[in-house]
Amino acid sequence: MPTLLAPVRSVRPSPVDTAGLVERLRLTLVSAGQFLLFVPAVVLFVLTVVAVPTGGMAVGFVLAAVAVPATELLTGGHRRLAGGLLGVEVPSAYADTTGRGFLGRPLVWLRDPHRWRDVAFLAWSATGGAVLSGLPPLLLLAPLVHLGGLLLDPGLTWALLLAGALVCPLVWWLVTPALLRARAVADRGILGHTRVAALERRVEQVEESRTESLDHSAAEVRRIERDLHDGAQARIAAVGMNVGLAEKLLATDPEAAAALLREVRETTVSALEDLRSVVRGIHPPVLADRGLAGAVEALALALPVPVTLRLDVPEELPAPVESAAYFALAECLANVAKHAAAGRAWVTARQHDGVLRLVVGDDGRGGADPEGSGLRGIARRLGAFDGTLVVDSPPGGPTVVTLEVPCRAEPT
C-alpha cells in the first residue's frame, strides 16, 4: 500500500478540505498500526530482558534465537513506516553473523550496538512511542465512544463528556500530521544509523570511488601515451626517414625521390589525423568551444540514427563534470549506434536542485548490459563525482540510460 506510506505532506494547520481529510485519515490509520505494535514490543522486550541473564544456561540462547530475529522483523517494519512518512530510507546496519552457528550468533548480537538500539526501541515503542501514536486515533474516536456511552447509559456524565469531546476532532485535525512526523523522527533517531556509522560508510564509498578514478585516469594516460607513440610520433619519424632518403636520392634517382616525397605528404596527413583523434579523446575542441550542449549536438550529428535533443544545461558547468558528462553521453550514443538497431534516439539534459540529469533513450532492441565494460567505465567515472548511472533496458526495448551528477553550477 504505497499510498498509505506517502511522506507527511505538511505539519502546518491547513483549511478543512477533502484532500486534507483523506490525508489525516490515512495518517490516523498508520498511527493506529504503530500504536498496536506496542504489544509485540512489550513481549519481545520481556523476552530479551530474560534472555540476557539466562545466557549462561541453554534457555537464554533459545530465547535469543527467537527474540532477536523477531525484534529485527518488528524494527524492520518500523523502519519502513518511519522512512515512508519522512520520504527517506532508514537503513539497518547489524553486525554480520553469516557463518556463525546457533551458539556463535548470540555472542555477536551481544556486542552489536545496533541490536541494543533495537532493544531500546522496544522500550520506546511501548512507552512514549505508544503515547504519540495512540493520540490521533484516540482523539478521533473519543466523541464516538462518548456518544456510544450516552446511548447505552443516558445521563449527565456522558453528556458532559461528549460535549467536552466535541473539541477533539479539531485538535485531531491540527496535531495529527505533527504527531506522526514526531514519531517518525524519533524512530529514525533510534533505528537509523548513528552519524559515525553513516560517515564510515561514506568514507568507504569515497575511498572506493577515489581508487577507481585514479585507476581510470592512469589507464587513460597510458592509453594516450600509447596512441601518441604508435600513431603520430611513429608517422612523423617515418616522414623524417623518407625525407632524408629522398634528399639522398635527389641527385641519383629523382623519380624515386619524388615518389618518396608523395608518400611523405600522405604520411603527414595521417599523422595530423592521429593527433586530432588523440586530442578529441582528451578534450574535444567542440566541448571547449561550445560547452556541453554544443558538444552533444555535434555527437548527435555524427550518429546514423536521428536523435531528438532537449538540452537545458547552464553554460557554466564545472569543467570536470562537463567532461565526464560528455564522455558518458558519447559512450551511450556510441552504444545506440553499435548495438541498439534503433530507429530513433533522444537525449535530454537538465539541471535541477543541484543535480545534472542526463537521459539517453532509444527505441531499439533493448537488453543492454549495465555490466558491460563501456557502461561500467561510465559508472566509475561518474562515481568520482557521486554520480549514478541507471540502465533500464528490457528485451525488446526501449532502452533508457539515466545519468545523474550532483553539481552546483559555480563559475569555475
Partner: protein, 216 residues
Amino acid sequence: MRVVLGEDQALLRVGLTRILEASGCAVLEAAEDAASLERALARPDADLGLVDVRMPPSYTNEGLLAAIAARRARPSFPVLVLSQYVEPLYARDLLADGAGGVGYLLKDRVAEVDGFVAALRRVAAGGTVLDPEVVAGLVGGAGREHPVTRLTPREREVLTLMAEGRSNAAIAGRLQVSEKAVGKHSSAIFTKLDLPQDTDDNRRVLAVLAWLEGGG
C-alpha cells in the same frame, strides 16, 4: 653489412629497410615482435642488430632486452638501439658489459641518412655511439657540486660529440676548429674529471660515460 632489423611499426620498418638498402646494407630479416626478433638476432650471419626499444607483446622495452640478451649470447655483437625517447638508464644497461659495439639513438637521427649510416658503421666496427640527448640527460642530471659543472660550454660540446663516438678529427670538423684544439679540450676534460688520458676513441667514451653514470 648484413643487418637484422626489429621494428613493430610497418611504416618505420619499410623506411629503415629502404635507407639501409640505399646505403648498401642487406636486411636479412625484419622482425615485428620480440619473439621473432630474438630468433633473428641469433642468426650467425648477422653483422649488426638494429632494434626498436618498444616491441610487442607488452610494448615496454623488449627490443632493448632482446639486444642485451643477444650480446650476452655473442659477446660484443654490434647492436644499435633506436627509440622515440632517449632514456639514460637504458643507455647504462646497454653499456654495462663495457664491450663496445653499442649504439643508442633517437629515431629522429635516422632522418639525417648519411650521419645515421656512419653511426651504424661505427657501431659495427666496435665503436660506441650515444645520442647527444643521453649525454645531456646525464650531464643535466648532475648536481651543483658535480665536477661536470666545471667544464666550459665548449668542453661540454666536445664531451657530447665524444660520446657520439666521434674521433678527434671528426669533432674538429664538426666544431670547425683544428684537431690540436680538440686534443687540448679533451685533455682538459679528462683532467677536470680526473680520468686517465686515453687515445682509443671507444675506451675514452666508455670511461667518460661510466664516470657520468657514477655521478663522479
